[in-house]
Symmetry: C2
Subunit: 258 residues, 2 copies
DNA sequence: CCATGTGAAAGCGTTCACAGCC
DNA sequence: GGCTGTGAACGCTTTCACATGG
């Protein structure tokens, strides 16, 4: 999801296609591309759903927002669907992007083959460190961040990827937006604030791990008692009501009653 | 979201805490940690919500699932909340993780400071390329994938990160699971299939960009007519009904009426 | 008074189950 | 007969608005 208070009015997804569906279209597209490469002519919703890791009812519902592109009793024409979904996602256009921050992550992104094959063209790699300037990563020269505005203007870039350290992210974001970028993919662990009309999506490496840890804890906590590490910090003051179900124990020792 | 047909029964979130709330706890935790470092003693739901990029009603509702940890008329005690959320997420425990696939992305993950500071300890970096074996990345030695099972057993690893090319991902996943890993964070662009009881979360770099492109296209399409690149592929055969609203035009030229 | 905590209402997303069409 | 397309039911999530309590 987008990070800031802007984004679209939240209600009513773009062009009538629900946001949840949009988020799955790339998944379907990948599965379809694989089928296409194996020259499979048609798929049923059941098969395609399995390949994409969703259930078939959801897939059919998703496709129904795009139009009636299947054939009853038969399934979907693979090539045709590939085209329709690509078009819907805007991948039949060319999207020049810039990647700002060429550390390991920026380099990984530059090397990632999944971009080029989907209409994304890395117009430039940008870093503030002049030691990197002039080098090439994945065949693309790294340019200095002084050139940022120029690069964006000359290439008509509207999508920017931020892979800088957290401290630099907002500043980079501001410059990108001022230069005309209206969509930002943010890998820095910060909440970016952007003006109305600019979309921000966030990918946070550690958040995903934390969510896994939560579930992992539950699995373990169900049988093994397993003690916590440090004793708790100081609670605030008064009523610490803690919910009815006090889980697998491990609650704080209820300290300092005002 | 998790990728495979397994995961929990979907309905009824873990321990009564809704999944959507769990996904936001790391966000709150980060904002709270920042406040804590600035020695701020208390926050209101309004302030904290702004820092985390959500609205205050949502935040209060989220916290209400954890317990009544605030003080009416005052707000929340920062230190106390940090502890409560950490505990809820299981971050007061030590979580050894392995990262498999030490390319640019794996290296970026190994270098990512956000892990260590949140209870995650990279027990080992694993790669199939013996040329890497023995080197260290972020101070952690890279070990050969032959050792995978041994490493997992010896370190009690239950969380694995897959940063290999797509082709190797399922195989690596199978070995991780067989060795006892029950939570997997997958960066490879593949749908992993895992047995019941194993959680998979996916981070897909190109999917995020594609979602941005979708919205970007809409912004542009609203005013500029803007022509598409290639003419469409062959449609299937019969009824191509296309929905009532035919968007900003740009539909396929309605070909080949059987 | 002020900000939390929470029922109740509204909005989305998913699933069901079957009508419709090939 | 088989598979798509879709209304209707259901459940989860968000938002509202206010009672509650420091």
């Amino acid at each position: 999801m987008a990070t800031s208070r802007n984004h679209r009015p939240a209600t009513r997804a773009s062009r009538g296609i629900p946001e949840a569906t949009v988020a799955r279209l790339p998944l379907y597209l990948r599965a379809l591309t694989a089928l296409s490469e194996r020259s499979v002519p048609t798929v049923s919703s059941e098969e395609l759903a399995a390949a994409a890791g969703v259930n078939s009812a959801k897939l059919r519902k998703d496709f129904s927002y795009l139009g009636s592109y299947g054939t009853r009793g038969v399934g979907y024409d693979v090539e045709y669907l590939v085209y329709q979904i690509s078009r819907e996602l805007g991948l039949t256009q060319d999207w020049p992007v810039v990647i700002v921050g060429i550390g390991n992550l920026g380099a990984a992104l530059a090397n990632y083959g999944g971009f080029a094959s989907r209409g994304f063209r890395v117009a430039s790699l940008i870093d503030a460190d002049s030691a990197l300037t002039g080098r090439t990563v994945a065949g693309i020269p790294v340019e200095h961040s002084d050139e940022l505005e120029k690069i964006i203007a000359e290439n008509g870039v509207s999508i920017g990827v931020i892979a800088t350290p957290a401290g630099a992210a907002q500043q980079v974001c501001d410059r990108l937006v001022a230069a005309g970028v209206t969509s930002i993919l943010n890998f820095a662990p910060t909440v970016l604030s952007v003006p109305e009309g600019v979309d921000v999506r966030k990918v946070d490496l550690s958040i995903e791990l934390q969510i896994l840890a939560f579930h992992e804890q539950r699995k373990a906590g169900e049988e093994a008692p397993l003690e916590e590490t440090a004793p708790p910090a100081a609670p605030p003051a008064a009523a610490v009501t803690k919910r009815p179900d006090s889980g697998p124990d491990g609650d704080v020792p209820a300290v300092m009653p005002a």
